[in-house]
Symmetry: C2
């Protein structure tokens, strides 16, 4: 506990990203730890393996989404749940980390092992969200469909935020995506 520093986790993540950018396969957990100025054992106190380093935020997203679904007032419509969930996740979009997330996204996209882990995390998020929607009483295909809409709204908002030229307000972006999604669903029927 003595030598534990509050920013160790973040230092490990930064070191991992920098090393992964040069090549994922030949980077070891020991090298990440060394670059972060800490011990290998510290690395494994924070992360199960080198794949996990870039996925620390994914369970936070599912936790917030599940909490937002449970806390939504009874009057909220089924489609309104998509808005509630997306809005609950927005605080995670930290403007100070936007460029870092963009670099992280690029490394994940180019590294098959990280892409697999990413899809597994997304799948777990969708399962958690579908479960929370069923808890709320959504039955049959409705829970699956709303979970898919939530995934889509999040994915598009996140992608647009990463691609924005300046530090565009994510709440504005999210509102645009939600309005677009609503129009799109309505146009289908």
């Amino acid at each position: 506990m003595g030598r534990w520093e509050p920013d160790t986790r973040e230092r490990l993540q930064n070191a991992a990203l920098e090393l992964f950018e040069r090549g994922y396969d030949n980077t070891t957990a020991a090298e990440i730890a060394e670059r972060a100025g800490t011990a290998k054992s510290t690395f494994f106190r924070h992360f199960a393996d080198k794949r996990e380093v870039l996925f620390a935020g994914t369970s936070l997203i599912a936790d917030r989404a599940v909490a937002a679904i449970a806390a939504a007032p009874p009057a909220v419509t089924t489609l309104g749940l998509v808005d509630e969930v997306l809005r609950s996740i927005l605080p995670i979009f930290d403007p100070a980390k936007r460029l870092w997330y963009g670099r992280r996204q690029a490394v994940v996209a180019h590294t098959p092992e990280l892409r697999e882990r990413d899809l597994l995390k997304q799948h777990a998020q969708t399962a958690a969200i579908t479960g929370a929607l069923r808890e709320r009483g959504l039955t049959g295909l409705t829970a699956d469909l709303v979970a898919a809409l939530i995934g889509l709204a999040f994915h598009v908002t996140y992608t647009r935020w990463l691609e924005a030229t300046a530090d565009q307000d994510v709440a504005t972006l999210a509102a645009e995506v939600l309005a677009e999604l609503r129009t799109t669903v309505t146009a289908l029927t």
Copy 2:
């Protein structure tokens, strides 16, 4: 070419499934080949690695879906494309292989490496379908949303078909799912 037998591929798949059911990690490509009564080199002529053995049908699904989207008459509505795609895939649901697919599904669900490959394949299918929808002129979120609906319709139909007690007609199952999906989408708005 001389010793090539038409059913070698299927024998390899059957052998792999049987061995994977006893344990995926300690099964080698050589053992699969031996059990199928063929050479290790033959295994690698058919599959890139042992993970691939159970995913031979996945590109067929994407190919059929993409072809169905391109071939759909101009009068077909956006939501009607979901019907066109699902119907085009139904011939792949071979009643004679239903129990085999059920066993395959169970092995994939219980083996992290196979689940990851499965998600990667699904992701590639969705990307191919979204691309075909954009080719057809669907813009913005509509292509993503319709691709998600196609994925959902396929997934639910396939799951219900595997869980059916007898050899239930898959066309009837698919029609029920499509009607349910249409009702669900309409109820959202």
